[in-house]
Symmetry: C2
Subunit: 161 residues, 2 copies
């Protein structure tokens, strides 16, 4: 097997010390504030990032210990394949969240709508590009059957610890 | 340094044998077709994925040999910090693209709007969830100054090889 090896470029700090009661998606995290401390060696890479209102973060779900190919996600009571869900117990525990950027101070980025655990290792930051990243006509399978409010109101629990 | 190690869950096959003339984003890739071969051991994880019109793929930019913190991206003639661009020469060479899913046959997923190189190692598949993943009001910094047509018409060149 060919290993693909990365190193954290920084750390995401959030108020979520445990999975219990954590919002399951940024849209459920509303004004929840956090920040990123980028490793100082990468600060130059932030030039012009303050012009973006939203950033897509790719991070390591470092508390996930094993994967499941079939999961009952928070938003349903039926099992779905892991790749048809956003559940964390993935073969490669990689998290993906688009958050709001409010301020940049040196290597510190102030963000809102955070839905990841405190001290999460950050792998990459992509600027959200409105013209390319939205998919207004997307059909979202079993998730379409759930009302948008369900995302905002559903909290995490201990099942994925 | 703490290494974070993943393994490919499969491979993305596309018509793009080299970076030359490759579309720089899925919106520029129009009907360009490709497919994913997931490793057979993960096929169970695809259950119900066919209900989604779009998938967000996270993959290894395995042809990138070194990173640059400041880059002149395809869409501009000025340098920006790497994290304010989608350029591939990132500290962790991780690619992110939302593609269209047209058919699933066992461990083979037929996709369109592909903008990655042929034989790209796949790290994760997330279902695109229209209600959570769109950011209609996003402001996209220097990219907003460029017309949408610029994305569709701009092709890659050799500068990131």
């Amino acid at each position: 097997m060919n290993d693909i090896t990365f190193q954290a470029i920084g750390t995401i700090y959030t108020p979520h010390a445990s999975l219990e009661n954590m919002p399951i998606q940024p849209s459920g995290a509303a004004q929840t504030k956090g920040y990123i401390l980028l490793k100082e060696e990468f600060t130059e890479g932030l030039k012009d990032i303050e012009g973006f209102s939203h950033l897509t973060l790719i991070y390591h779900l470092n508390k996930v210990e094993e994967h499941q190919l079939s999961v009952v996600p928070f938003m349903d009571d039926k099992a779905h394949g892991i790749f048809a869900t956003r559940s964390p117990k993935r073969p490669n525990p990689i998290g993906l969240s688009t958050v709001k950027l409010t301020k940049v101070e040196g290597n510190k980025l102030f963000i809102e709508e955070v839905d990841m655990l405190n001290e999460t290792p950050l792998l990459d930051i992509k600027p959200f590009f409105r013209q390319s990243d939205n998919r207004l006509q997307a059909v979202s399978g079993w998730l379409d059957d759930k009302h948008q409010n369900a995302v905002s109101e559903t909290k995490s629990d201990e099942r994925f610890i």
